[in-house]
């Protein structure tokens, strides 16, 4: 296995990139700056030839699992295939070389693309206004919650409570706090994995600003009490936020705007095929209904007879959350994807992803317990309680899966299922890959039945074995130059 750090390759005098020879007269830096403003010695960055830099990054890259290599069934992460045409088109100089302050008559193509993407996203989600600006899902949540703040503020009242089901992503409560809501109330789920209506009712009062729902929930279960929840929220003029992390299940089947939600974010890096990049960048457009439209962040792309422009003149806007118009590179990819799919392809995404998930669920239930028995959509949650009793936990199963060459599901989330394993196959995995995964999970169960102990040391074939995470936090080394 490759084990070098870039710093360990460095040798005095090696050059990785040749810069131009100055074509203007060169002055001493002291002519321009007082000594106190200059660096006393150059940063001790690596000195490595280009070839060695490339080899270094190629070698470390090979230590990664990635979706172009094999299955990646992380629940609620929607690790679908990232089409290559997206990457080609997003790297066209006509897009990449644009400066955000260029005059609009020199960026008409970019603005047209953004405008059309806005229209497509509105049509898919069933809302009437949208901003593309947020750079990620959690950033979108923040925007949605700031819009909700503004809604109540315009009605001259303060609301400080946000209701969040206990199956929600951690970003929901965290975003509520960053948006200035003082109270986050967790609502338990009922026996069918839905919001417990009785408990919800007991928390609905004049201090509630909104409820944040993920639909389908992180259990993969469609929240079918939506009409009742809407009525409850209406009784105190509270709003309904939808976390769009699981939009893949709804494409063309259900539009959140039609369901009665007031605001939602979409994750272009989940359902809309833009890659995850090892953690980002993402893109989290926020769509709203008429109640919240006037508060959307600026600028907004508008169309007129003179072409497309970025309009900033919205007096009730919450302002901006990004220095520029958001992650444009992701817009190109999502627009390309939707253009390829077209109106007939979009519903097929949901259909295939739901059928694939239910196929896995059916086959895996032969050996694993289900977190919930209710019908599930594009993802589902298994519980490894049975396996734990035999001596191997969800963590051990996840680590053992690595030896089979597939990435494990999301584990220990949602928090409400013991030994949770949350599985989302997406529509881009073939039946053969799904079968391979099932066979691996069944084989692991057999291993547990025979010798659960043996799994505690898994994985056996990965570049490194189980890592000491507690030790990393105790003896913190996050900077080579300080260790």
């Amino acid at each position: 296995m490759y084990t070098k750090l870039i710093f360990e390759l460095s040798k005095e005098g090696r050059v990785g990139h040749v810069l131009p020879t100055p074509d203007v007269p060169e002055h001493d830096l002291n002519d321009f700056f007082p000594e106190t403003m200059l660096r006393s010695q150059p940063a001790n960055l690596p000195q490595v030839a280009e070839n060695e830099v490339v080899r270094h990054f190629v070698n470390i890259s090979l230590l990664n699992h990635h979706v172009d290599k094999a299955f990646y069934p992380l629940g609620s992460c929607t690790m679908k295939y990232n089409p290559k045409i997206n990457e080609r088109l997003a790297s066209l100089p006509g897009f990449t070389a644009l400066h955000p302050d260029q005059p609009e008559n020199t960026t008409q193509g970019a603005l047209e693309l953004m405008y059309n993407l806005q229209e497509y996203l509105l049509e898919i989600s069933g809302f009437s206004g949208i901003t593309l600006q947020p750079a990620a899902g959690a950033h979108g949540e923040l925007v949605g919650l700031l819009l909700i703040q503004k809604y109540h503020k315009m009605k001259k009242r303060t609301r400080s409570t946000i209701l969040v089901p206990d199956s929600a992503h951690g970003t929901n409560p965290a975003s509520a706090r960053i948006a200035g809501f003082k109270k986050v109330v967790s609502i338990p789920s009922d026996s069918e994995g839905r919001v417990d209506m009785e408990i919800l009712k007991s928390h609905v009062n004049e201090d509630v600003a909104a409820i944040m729902l993920t639909n389908p929930s992180t259990l993969g279960i469609f929240e079918n009490q939506i009409v009742e929840i809407r009525a409850l929220m209406d009784s105190v003029d509270a709003l309904m936020y939808m976390d769009g992390a699981n939009m893949n299940a709804l494409f063309g089947i259900v539009r959140p705007g039609d369901l009665g939600f007031d605001v939602m974010h979409l994750n272009l890096h989940k359902s809309f095929s833009t890659p995850h990049g090892g953690g980002g960048p993402g893109s989290g457009p926020v769509a709203v209904n008429d109640k919240l439209k006037e508060f959307l962040p600026v600028p907004i792309v508008v169309k007129s007879t003179n072409g497309f422009s970025l309009k900033e003149d919205y007096p009730n806007s919450i302002g901006t959350v990004h220095s520029f118009a958001g992650n444009f590179g992701m817009y190109v990819r999502a627009f390309t994807y939707l253009t390829m799919l077209g109106k007939e392809g979009i519903p097929q995404i949901a259909r295939h992803s739901i059928i694939s998930a239910n196929y896995l669920r059916k086959r895996l239930s032969a050996a694993y317990e289900l977190g919930y028995n209710a019908p599930t959509m594009h993802e589902f949650v298994l519980s490894a309680e049975k396996q734990k009793k035999m001596g191997a936990k969800a963590l051990d199963i996840a680590k053992r899966l690595l030896d089979y060459g597939v990435h494990p599901p999301t584990i220990y989330f949602p928090l409400i299922v013991k030994e949770a394993m949350m599985i989302e196959p997406t529509e881009t995995e073939s039946k053969e890959m799904l079968d391979f995964f099932v066979d691996a999970m069944l084989a692991i169960n057999k291993e547990i039945e025979e010798d659960a102990e043996s799994l505690h040391k898994a994985p056996f074939t990965t570049p490194v074995k189980r890592l000491d995470e507690a030790g990393a936090a105790r003896n913190l080394d996050v900077n080579f130059f300080k260790n």
């Binding site: 084990t3 990139h17 203007v24 690596p46 699992h65 193509g109 089947i253 390829m340 030790g471």
Partner: protein, 442 residues
């Protein structure tokens, strides 16, 4: 149909195993009246070739002129090797490295990125990214307020107005009070700063080089804080640190930057990458992901995400931030860029920017009615005073296929133009700028 891996026969086989007839049988709990009926109003599916043609057509409607635009996004050269590295699917099609045994590539790259940024800016710890500089600055302010338990934040008018706007949105519903520090001669007004820098200040923001391109007196700010408890937050330009004194060297507490300049294209404003660095004492309060070194069960060196108890997926409403997805991939390009340019290259690229910017500033100042807005030192960006509105100059320079710079009218300086010069601008282009401007002002 694009991107579906299964045929209708496969689907039929799977439905048979599940024991249902069709999709509807799998979603019985979605009431019929909640379902979307009819057809989406989106164009019909296109082939890859047709899509390529359509989207390429949009790209070609945009114009790429010789650019002197800056203000937070800069036209630096991106080496081919950076593009090649960042285009590896091992990096771009992987998820957040939650399973470290199969994510050592991403984790090691994060660790190297963190280390190189710290070596460049002289800070102790850098996280492996925020979305971009404006929101990173907002998060830095939230950190400072939570750390000092005070609410007043001094924000200079020499700060990039786009960053300021983002900060305002973030703090709108909090107790945080933003107090503006006025400017004199395009740098922070020191008297105003001294007057407002009371003991209850949580943070002082300073952009250096500032929005207008000029250097601020950071030493003075740090000195003023000697007997106070505020955190000093510097916004810097990573390229400038090839030659300029570092935030760590000045002794600031938090350093924020836009990392786009490190090997990432301008992309019409995003994706960018916020660089977030702190001193050791703040590490457990910082937002975002951190990769750290550890060992595996066989004693081999490896990397993991560390101090995760700060983060939302563990701490939920008590997390230091709500950030989850970040700009991970751009830390790979920044790491590759810093590795390629290395010790000499970073100094060299900074030198080229300085020399070319000063050459242009000097030549422009010879035009009648044109002068540098300040005598303060500047790095690669500077502001000039014009005898006419900057808007007119910008408009007319388009006829010469040139983006002359940023109009400072919104900052209250309608006759001032903000000009950025990177290492990519040739002498020919600089001379052309001079003659175009002379011509416009004739």
């Amino acid at each position: 149909m694009a991107y579906l891996s299964n045929s209708e026969q496969d689907i039929k086989a799977m439905l048979d195993v599940i024991g249902v007839k069709d999709l509807d049988a799998l979603i019985p709990n979605i009431a019929d009246n909640l379902k979307f009926k009819g057809e989406l109003s989106i164009p019909a599916a296109k082939s890859e070739f047709e899509t390529d043609k359509l989207v390429s057509g949009l790209a070609s409607k945009n114009h790429n002129f010789v650019s002197f635009l800056g203000g937070g996004s800069y036209d630096h050269y991106v080496p081919a090797a950076v593009e090649e590295i960042v285009s590896r699917p091992e990096f771009y099609t992987s998820y957040t490295p939650y399973q470290p045994e199969v994510s050592q590539g991403t984790l090691q790259a994060m660790y190297e990125f963190q280390s190189m940024i710290c070596e460049l800016n002289g800070m102790d710890v850098t996280n492996a990214s925020m979305y971009e500089a404006g929101s990173a600055l907002a998060e830095a302010i939230l950190l400072a307020v939570s750390h000092t338990r005070m609410n007043k934040v001094l924000l200079p008018s020499t700060l990039n107005p786009r960053y300021k706007a983002v900060v305002q949105t973030y703090v709108e519903n909090s107790e945080i009070e933003l107090v503006e520090i006025a400017e004199t001669g395009f740098i922070m007004d020191e008297n105003d700063l001294e007057g407002k820098f009371t003991d209850d200040v949580a943070a002082v923001i300073v952009q250096h080089p500032n929005y207008y391109g000029f250097l601020e007196n950071i030493e003075n700010i740090v000195e003023l804080n000697e007997n106070k408890k505020a955190l000093i937050i510097q916004v810097y330009d990573p390229i400038s640190l090839g030659i300029l004194k570092t935030p760590g060297g000045f002794g600031v507490d938090i350093a924020i930057a836009e990392g786009q300049v490190l090997g990432n294209p301008q992309n019409y404003g995003g994706p960018y990458v916020g660089l977030f660095s702190v001193t050791e004492k703040l590490v457990r309060k910082m937002p975002g992901r951190l990769a750290g070194i550890t060992t595996d069960t066989e004693g081999k060196r490896g990397f993991v995400l560390t101090l995760q108890t700060r983060e939302q997926h563990i701490r939920r409403e008590k997390a230091t931030s709500n950030i989850c997805s970040n700009s991970g991939l751009l830390t790979i390009s920044a790491g590759a860029y810093l590795s390629l340019l290395g010790k000499q290259g970073m100094e060299r690229v900074a030198q080229l920017c300085v020399q070319k910017a000063h050459y242009l500033a000097e030549r422009l100042s010879t035009i009648k009615g044109v002068s540098l807005a300040s005598e303060a030192p500047f790095f690669k960006e500077f502001t000039i005073k014009l005898p006419i509105n900057a808007a007119e100059v910008i408009k007319k320079s388009l006829h010469h296929n040139m983006f002359a710079g940023i109009n400072l009218a919104k900052s209250g300086h309608p006759n001032h133009l903000l000009i950025a010069v990177t290492e990519k601008r040739t002498r020919e282009e600089l001379d052309l700028f001079v003659s175009v401007l002379a011509d416009i002002l004739k």
